[in-house]
C-alpha cells in the first residue's frame, strides 16, 4: 500500500506540471520587486528605467554602493540600529524568560491575574497609546535619546507568552529535584530551565531583532537627532534628499535589507514556527 502511494506521488501528471508552473509564476511576482531593486542599484540613473528592462546591468557599476557608505551617515545609522536591536533582543530574552519562569514554574498570589493583564495588553494597538507613552518618555527625559526606544521595548507580552508556553512543556520535576538538592530558584532558572528553552529563545530573538530593525514609527517619533537615527529613518530621509537618484536609493535599500536576509536564510524555521504557533505577532 505504501509503495503504491509513493509511486502515485512521484508520477508526473499534467495537473502537477500546471500547478508547478503557477507556483513558479507566483514566485516571480513575489521576488521581482527585489530583483529589480538589486539590478537598479548597479545602474546609472539614466539606465534604471530603460524598457525593456535589462536585468543584468551592463556594465555593472558599484559607485552607488560606494556613495551610500561615504556620502551620508549610513554607517552610523547601521551601527545605531544594530546596537539598539541587540540590546533590546538580549534584554527581552532576560525579562521575558524571567517572567515566563515565574508564570510557568512558580506559585505566588496574584500570578494568574498579572498574566491575564499582560495578555490583555496584547490586544491594545500600540498606535492607541503612542501619545501617552511619548509623554511618559519625555517626562523621564528619554526624548531624543536612544533610551526611549530601548527601554520601552524591553517588555513584550508576546515574548512572555511565548516563553511561558515553552516552559510549561518542560517537566516541573526537574525544578523540584533541583530544589531538593538545595538549588536556589535563580540557579534552577538559570542552570536548568534556560538551557532547555533554547528553541523558544531563538524564536524570540529572531522576532525581536527583525521588529527592531524594521521599526519605523517609534524611532520617527522619538529620535530627532541625526546622531541617534535608525536605518529605517535614515533610509526614508535619504530618499527625500536624493529624490531622483534612483540607483543610489536602491543601493541604500539593498544594504538595509542585508541583515534581514541573513536572518531569514539562517533562522527562517524559527520565524515560521513562531507565527504558526501563536499567530499573534503581526
Amino acid at each position: 500500500m505504501k509503495q503504491i502511494k509513493k509511486s502515485k506521488k512521484d508520477r508526473i501528471t499534467p495537473g502537477k506540471v500546471l500547478l508547478f508552473l503557477v507556483l513558479a509564476l507566483l514566485v516571480v511576482v513575489m521576488v521581482v520587486p527585489f530583483l529589480w531593486m538589486i539590478s537598479a542599484s548597479f545602474k546609472n540613473n539614466n539606465e534604471v528605467f530603460l524598457y525593456p528592462i535589462r536585468w543584468i546591468p551592463d556594465p555593472i557599476r558599484i559607485k552607488n554602493y560606494y556613495r551610500v557608505w561615504t556620502e551620508i551617515p549610513f554607517p552610523r545609522y547601521y551601527l545605531n540600529t544594530l546596537i539598539y536591536s541587540v540590546i533590546v533582543t538580549f534584554g527581552q530574552c532576560a525579562t521575558c524568560s524571567m517572567a515566563g519562569y515565574a508564570f510557568a514554574k512558580l506559585r505566588f498570589p496574584g500570578r494568574d491575574l498579572i498574566f491575564m493583564l499582560f495578555l490583555g495588553t496584547m490586544m491594545v494597538p500600540w498606535h492607541a497609546i503612542m501619545i501617552p507613552q511619548f509623554m511618559i518618555n519625555k517626562a523621564l527625559g528619554f526624548y531624543n535619546h536612544p533610551e526611549s526606544i530601548i527601554i520601552m521595548n524591553l517588555f513584550s507580552a508576546f515574548g512572555v507568552f511565548l516563553l511561558k508556553q515553552f516552559m510549561l512543556g518542560i517537566p516541573s520535576d526537574l525544578v523540584e529535584a533541583a530544589r531538593i538538592d538545595g538549588c536556589g530558584e535563580f540557579r534552577g532558572y538559570f542552570k536548568i530551565i534556560l538551557p532547555l528553552c533554547k528553541p523558544g529563545l531563538a524564536t524570540l530573538i529572531v522576532f525581536t531583532f527583525t521588529f527592531m530593525w524594521n521599526d519605523y514609527l517609534a524611532p520617527m517619533i522619538y529620535l530627532d537627532n541625526d546622531r541617534y537615527k535608525t536605518i529605517q529613518l535614515g533610509l526614508a530621509s535619504f530618499r527625500s534628499l536624493y529624490m531622483t537618484d534612483y540607483g543610489l536609493i536602491m543601493a541604500g535599500t539593498v544594504c538595509s535589507l542585508i541583515p534581514i536576509l541573513i536572518i531569514y536564510c539562517s533562522a527562517q524555521k524559527y520565524l515560521i514556527e513562531g507565527i504558526a504557533h501563536t499567530g499573534l505577532k503581526g
Partner: protein, 304 residues
Amino acid sequence: MNKPDKKGKIKYRKSEVIAGYCFLAPSFLLFFTFMLIPIFMGFYISLTNYNGFKQMDFIGFKNYISMFSDGYFLVSLKNNVLYTLGTVPLTIIFALLLAVAVNTGIRGANLFKTFYFFPYITSSVAVGIIWTLLFNPKVGPINNFLRSVGMPEESLPGWLLSTTGALPAVMIVSIWKMAGYYMIIFLAGLQGINKELYEAAEVDGAGRLTKFFRITLPLLSPTTFMILILSVINSFQVFDLINIMTEGGPGRATNVLVYRIYQEGFEYMKFGYASAEAYFLFAIILVITIIQFVGEKYWVHSGD
C-alpha cells in the same frame, strides 16, 4: 509543587513567593510604566485640550464630538474602511491559495514557501521605496509593461500621483507583503486536518474541487476566522507604507486613521484631540476582538 491543603486553600511556599515577585519585577515595572499607565492616561488626555504646552483643561467628550464633524478625520476613516474592504478579502484568498498549493507537497514546495514569505519580514520602508519607483507613472516598469501590452497612454493609471490610483497602489503592495504571513497560519491550520478524511472522500470518488469545498474549507474555517480578525485589525493600523509611499496624499486620498492620529498628535501637537482619535481606533479594535471571542466559541462548537 504546592498542593491545596485540606481547606482547599493553596499554600504558598515563602521562598517561591519571593522568587516569583523578583522574577516578575523587571517586566512588571516596564509593563506598568509603558503600557498600563498610558492606557488610562491616554483616555484622560482625550478628555482635555492638551496641546503639548502647560495648558490642559478638562473639556469632557468635546474632542469625540468634534471628531465626527471633522471632514478630514471622516475622510481618513472612509479611506481606512475602503482599504480594509479592499485588502482583507484579497489577502485572505491569495494566502489560502498559496497555502493549499504549497500543501500539496509538490516538488520544491518548501522553496516556494520561502519565497512567498520573504516580503513579510522586510521593512515597509524598503518595500515602500521600491514600489514607489515601480509605480512611477511616466517611466516606471509597471506602466512601461502596460504600455507594451498595448494600453493606450491616456488610460494608464497615475498610481501614487493620482487621487484614484494611490489607494489601490498601496493596497496592492499590502496584499503582496502580507499574503505570505497569512499563508503560514493557513498552513498550520491545514496540518491539523485529518488526512484520512481525504482518503475516504477519494474512495467515494470525490474530485479535487469537491474535496476542497467539502473538506478543506469547512474544517479550515476556525483558522480563516482568526486570520480574518487579524487582518482586519492590521488593516486599521496601516501607517508605514502610507507614510513612505504617499504621505496621505495626493490631497487626502490615502489618509488613514493612524496617519491622521500621527499628524494631529506629532505634527500639530494636538495631543488631546489625537488621543480621542486614538481611542476611537482602540474602540474599533476592541469591538473586533470581542467579535473574535464570541465567534471563537461558536467555531469551536461547530467544529466538533
